[in-house]
């Protein structure tokens, strides 16, 4: 290509060489910009995960204080006359452990406010489990107050003036004494994973929200999976080409793109106000999220059904199988990995959804673990939202820790989906 038009181009000339160089520089720059965009996105993800983890890792540990507790029946208000086992058990479960803890903390630590306000609950549960403890003296590790927590985790900035640290000098002194005596420790926060919400940050746990999420997801899956697969089968295998089918298809495609909060409005107007269902109940949340998940499952199931080669269908029909048999015995088994992948992805989206559930009242403060789908409950993302609004310092790490749990669940669900897709995906 030495000839271009009438002018002869000298590619070896300095001018042309410089021009080519410039073009290559531009090429490299463009490429670097592209790489930069990917790196920015990835480093944002890394930064997000890092921030959440470094904030949240403390939420899995809590400060505990050693107390020598004398389970004196007199202080607990348990009569010796409660001789029958059952009566004794009820007496213990009704006994007030607060004075016992307060006096022990006052005597041994010098300040009863160093112990968490709710520490007596765990102590009571221990005694309920083992009534023979009554009358004995035991060394027990009880949950510390929030200021003990932040001191033990080194979250107090001692460079600040004493009045701006958020903890009084007396408390710091008390903490230092306790540490020298070995009466304070940082232990795994078992309560975080086994208890429900609480107004005390050191006692708040995610178990209640996790159960709420599981109940809600059970309803969502139970409704959207069968309905979604049935719709997909109908549209792929039965539906005649007519107006109604078109309307169904348009509806599904639009529903997939409707903002999730609109489903919350739907749930509020239809399930709560028209049908009068229970506010805050997992069954309403599950129904609402099922309607949101349905189009995702339908669309992915249709893709999966479409990718089944026609030869399988024809062969089955050829040897006399009915349409239903073709579907149940051949199409669905072959398409199942694709259907399941879509279902898991839809479900993981529903699991992380917050906004529609806020509207149907699943933001109630629920301090009990829900036992059924009609009881007030909250779910993990809503719990995160609620805690993020709390002013207490301990809730920051609780929020991040809850996010860690949620992300772990979601990422493992996605990993399962990817695994399924790679393992069972067949190319025909």
């Amino acid at each position: 290509m030495s000839q271009s038009g009438t002018r002869k181009l000298d590619w070896q000339s300095k001018e042309m060489q410089a021009r080519v160089r410039r073009r290559y520089v531009r090429e490299r720059r463009f490429r670097r910009v592209g790489l930069g965009a990917v790196i920015i996105a990835a480093s944002f993800l890394a930064f997000l995960l890092f921030t959440i983890t470094s904030n949240g890792i403390g939420g899995f540990r809590r400060a505990e204080l050693a107390l020598d507790l004398n389970y004196d029946p007199a202080i607990l208000g348990i009569q010796a006359s409660d001789s029958s086992e059952e009566a004794a058990a009820t007496a213990v479960s009704r006994a007030d452990f607060r004075p016992l803890l307060a006096s022990a903390a006052q005597a041994q630590l010098g300040d009863s406010s160093l112990v968490s306000e709710g520490a007596w609950l765990a102590v009571r549960d221990q005694v309920v489990e083992d009534p023979s403890l009554i009358g004995t003296t035991q060394r027990v590790w009880v949950v510390g107050a929030p200021n003990m927590d932040i001191l033990a985790k080194g979250q107090v900035d001692f460079d600040l003036a004493p009045d701006r640290r958020g903890v009084s000098t007396a408390t710091v002194a008390a903490y230092r004494t306790l540490r020298e005596e070995g009466r304070i420790r940082l232990a795994f926060n078992s309560g975080f994973l086994t208890q429900a919400d609480s107004t005390n940050s050191e006692l708040a746990g995610i178990w209640g929200a996790l159960i709420g999420s599981i109940l809600t997801m059970a309803i969502t899956l139970g409704i959207s999976f069968p309905l979604g697969v049935m719709t997909a089968v109908y549209l792929e295998e039965y539906a005649p080409k007519n107006k109604l089918t078109d309307i169904i298809e348009v509806s599904i495609n639009n529903l997939a793109a409707v903002p999730s909060i609109i489903f919350g409005l739907l749930g509020l107007a239809v399930f709560l106000n028209t049908f009068g269902m229970q506010r805050s109940a997992p069954v309403v949340g599950g129904l609402t999220l099922a309607l949101m998940t349905l189009p995702v499952i339908v669309i992915s199931s249709r893709v999966a059904l479409k990718s089944v080669p026609p030869s399988i269908r024809d062969a089955a029909l050829g040897i006399g199988a009915s349409r239903l048999q073709v579907i149940l015995h051949h199409l669905i088994p072959v398409a199942l990995p694709g259907i399941l992948t879509g279902t898991i992805i839809g479900l993981s989206r529903a699991l992380g959804e917050t906004a529609p559930l806020l509207l149907i009242g699943m933001r109630a403060f629920v301090s009990d673990v829900p036992e059924g789908v009609t009881e007030p409950a909250t779910v993990l993302p809503v719990q995160i939202f609620l805690w993020s609004d709390e002013v207490g310092r301990g809730f920051v790490e609780k929020t991040s820790a809850a996010i860690m749990v949620l992300l772990t669940v979601l990422l493992s669900m996605n990993a399962v989906a990817i695994y399924l897709r790679n393992k069972f995906e067949r190319r025909w």
Partner: protein, 461 residues
């Protein structure tokens, strides 16, 4: 006996019909003179379904309307004085009564509710017996009839298949019902709202302060429902700031991943982007509120802008933009890869570098697809809720300053509907009007974007 027990009886009856009819069908003589239309299990299924379906529908219908019927009857049997007022009071009253009946509450707080408990219980009991008995009778008749009619020439398989088709078709109607439900509930509540507030004022008014409108009679004159600041906030955050972040990053990421990256690199980077898409929005919101917003404020203060708010449009919008990156990138990916290879090869053959090919050939050719993707991304961004609820604030400012706090349609919907309030107030109803606007706008954007994308794909096919 509870309704659940009756349902179990029904299942047992259906199974029985199935087994009996199948056994009967198995005994058919089959030889060259006697043709049997269907296999025995189809006869069984037919009988089982005839027993189960009508009775099951009856029980299901009662399960839905039953509580209401029982409640009405109970209330009508109560003396006039102890009946609760309609509305919320009635709801609370009934909740108490039901709580006691189901054993969740030891006793009701209101004496009248305690009075109603035995009436409720006995009404419920008799209705349950009636409906359950009817259902069992239906099942017996249906199963028995099908069993009697089990004959070699009965087209059991065709009937079962027909039934399955009908069930599948009904399932697919749920999508239409959902859409209808959304449209009707939004429309109904919005009309209610517009009967109290002038629609023109809602769409063109620039004052938004629903909190002041406590009494319904104040609303019309107070002019507190002008939604323009909300619309502006939504566009400002979702369509401007978020897109300024998401479009360049998403597009460049897609270009790099599809045109430059080696497949091994792509295998690592693409899932990373997908993780970004899988992070729940509440997590982004928390991150925006906890980390990004204070950083933005500190930065603004350090360059001398003292008035910077701790909740800013910039923080919410940029985090939202990051969230949208994977979405834009995958749409751009699709658009770029559907440009015919010949165009790319032609450009290379003329001596263009990769970047020249991308900038002058691929992107212009894929532009409609990319624009469609961006429109879809905008529709997603303006419907996004949690980030703006947590990081953008609640102040309805009409401002173009990204460091100020603005609020959006979605944030206001949440704000309006999560307090304790009467359902029927203009304040609550306005949330539905906002929802209707949001629904219509996102729907238009989606339909338009999908048409653009579709037409573009067809152009190259």
């Amino acid at each position: 006996m509870s309704l659940g027990a009756f349902a179990l009886v029904l299942l047992a009856l259906a199974t029985l019909s199935y087994v009996a009819a199948r056994a009967r069908a198995r005994a058919f003589k089959v030889d060259s003179h006697h043709h049997v239309h269907s296999r025995p299990s189809y006869h069984g299924l037919r009988a089982g379904l005839t027993a189960l379906v009508p009775a099951g529908l009856l029980i299901l219908a009662w399960g839905i309307v039953g509580d209401g019927v029982v409640a009405e009857q109970t209330l009508s049997q109560l003396p006039e004085a102890s009946r609760p007022a309609p509305g919320l009071d009635k709801q609370a009253f009934l909740n108490e009564v039901r709580g006691v009946v189901s054993g969740e509450l030891p006793a009701a707080f209101r004496p009248a509710a305690n009075e109603a408990v035995p009436i409720y219980r006995s009404t419920q009991q008799s209705w349950t017996l009636l409906i359950g008995g009817l259902a069992v009778l239906l099942a017996l008749i249906g199963g028995g009839y099908a069993w009697l009619r089990t004959a070699p020439d009965v087209r059991a398989r065709t009937q079962v298949e027909m039934f399955a088709t009908v069930v599948l078709a009904l399932a697919s109607l749920i999508a239409i019902l959902t859409t209808l439900g959304i449209v009707l509930s939004l429309l109904y509540e919005s009309l209610e709202f517009f009967s109290r507030v002038n629609p023109l004022e809602f769409i063109f008014g620039t004052q938004w302060s629903p909190q002041t409108a406590i009494r319904a009679d104040q609303v019309g004159s107070s002019g507190a429902f002008g939604a323009v600041p909300l619309f502006w906030g939504t566009i400002f955050i979702g369509a401007i700031i978020a897109m300024l972040v998401a479009i360049p990053l998403g597009l460049m990421a897609a270009i790099y991943l599809t045109q430059y990256a080696r497949s091994s690199t792509r295998k690592i980077l693409k899932p990373l982007l997908e993780i970004l898409a899988g992070v729940p929005t509440v997590v982004y919101g928390y991150f925006a509120a906890l980390t990004v917003a204070p950083a933005v404020r500190d930065l603004a203060i350090s360059v001398g802008i003292e008035s910077a708010s701790s909740e800013s449009a910039l923080a919410a919008g940029s985090v939202m933009g990051i969230m949208i990156i994977p979405f834009i990138s995958s749409m751009a990916d699709d658009a770029l890869s559907s440009v015919p290879g010949a165009m790319r090869d032609g450009s290379f053959a003329l001596g263009a570098t990769s970047s020249e090919t991308i900038k002058r050939v691929l992107v212009p050719a894929a532009l409609p697809g990319i624009v469609g993707g961006v429109l879809l991304a905008i529709s997603r961004a303006i419907g996004e809720t949690m980030i703006v609820v947590m990081a953008a604030g609640q102040a309805a400012n009409l401002t173009a300053n990204p460091l100020e706090s603005v609020t959006t349609v979605t944030a206001q919907i949440v704000q309006l509907l999560t307090g304790d309030q009467e359902f029927d107030s203009a304040k609550t109803l306005s949330a539905f009007a906002l929802g209707l606007v949001l629904f219509i706008v996102t729907l238009m954007l989606n339909i338009y974007a999908l048409t653009v994308v579709k037409r573009y794909r067809e152009a190259y096919e």
